[in-house]
Amino acid sequence: MYGWIWRHLPGNSWVRALISLVLALAVVYVLFQYVFPWAEPLLPFNDVTVDGQ
């Protein structure tokens, strides 16, 4: 899977490494900005109030 991505990136090893790094950072950004804030309330880790429901 990752090997497939690596083979399809353009340029020599250095360029590919750089692109990989940028891609990884982009994925982390999307996760922190959109995916985790969406997922967090669905997971039972951080409910702090008492309520009747």
Binding site: M1, Y2, G3, V28, L31, F32, F36, A39, E40, P41, P44, F45, N46, D47, V48, T49, V50, D51, G52
Partner: protein, 230 residues
């Protein structure tokens, strides 16, 4: 034969990569929950807190007991928790609490205000992530001070009872007279609630305090003795 084997090897390696990816994802989620949400929440709480303090100094008193619940109504200081000051705002919905503040309950049992003659001032805040303002709630012992600061008054509460574990459906802890804490008469109480054990929210941790005295805020905002000691 060789082709079949290489196909199996390919499938195994993709499966392995998926497992590694899942592990990294979970690790990132932990980093997000326990670190990044704190960064965001502390930044937001700092901004809101500054706004409240600015409003306190800028505004001339606008009528008796004018209450600005929009930006927040005051700061909670708990020396035993060692978390600095905690801005208190209205409401306990996630959007409010995720801003790194403590919220006072409007539902299911509406909180009293500290200035009320009788009632229970009930607060909730995060144990982990989002500022983790009540992270050290387990360090509170009977007799420890909980100080609430408003524009004009320091309210000094003393802890008299802690409940390390209760059901999340136990809304009776929020009653104006919290009988579960052993009190039967109306008084001026404060109740802190958060989740427990740490990193999960299977149960709720409750701390009750009772108002000991109030102090007028002076020109220098000299804190009461309880806060000067630390």
């Amino acid at each position: 034969m060789a082709r079949a084997r290489s196909r199996i090897a390919g499938a195994v390696s993709v499966f392995g990569e998926l497992l590694i990816t899942a592990g990294v994802l979970m690790g990132l989620f932990v980093a997000y929950s326990l670190w990044w949400t704190n960064v965001l929440a502390d930044r937001e709480a700092g901004r809101q807190g500054d706004k409240v303090r600015d409003a306190w100094t800028a505004k001339t008193p606008s009528g008796p007991g004018a209450l600005d619940t929009d930006g927040g109504l005051g700061f909670l200081h708990v020396p035993a928790m060692d978390d600095g000051e905690v801005l208190v705002r209205k409401g306990t919905d996630p959007e409010t609490l995720n801003g790194g503040v403590a919220g006072y309950y409007t539902d299911p049992v509406a909180s009293a205000q500290p200035k009320d003659a009788k009632g229970n001032f009930t607060l909730a805040a995060h144990r982990d992530g989002h500022g983790a303002k009540f992270h050290n709630i387990h360090k509170l012992r009977t007799g420890d001070a909980i100080v609430f600061e408003t524009r004009d008054t320091w309210y000094v509460y003393k802890v008299y009872k802690t409940l390390p574990e209760t059901s999340k459906y136990n809304v009776d802890v929020l009653q104006p007279v919290p009988r579960e804490s052993g009190r039967t008469k109306p008084g001026r109480y404060i109740t802190l609630t958060t989740c427990t054990p740490v990193y999960t929210s299977d149960y709720r941790y409750i701390v009750w305090g009772e108002l000991e005295r109030t102090e007028k805020v002076d020109g220098d905002r000299t804190p009461p003795a309880e806060l000067r000691a630390s």
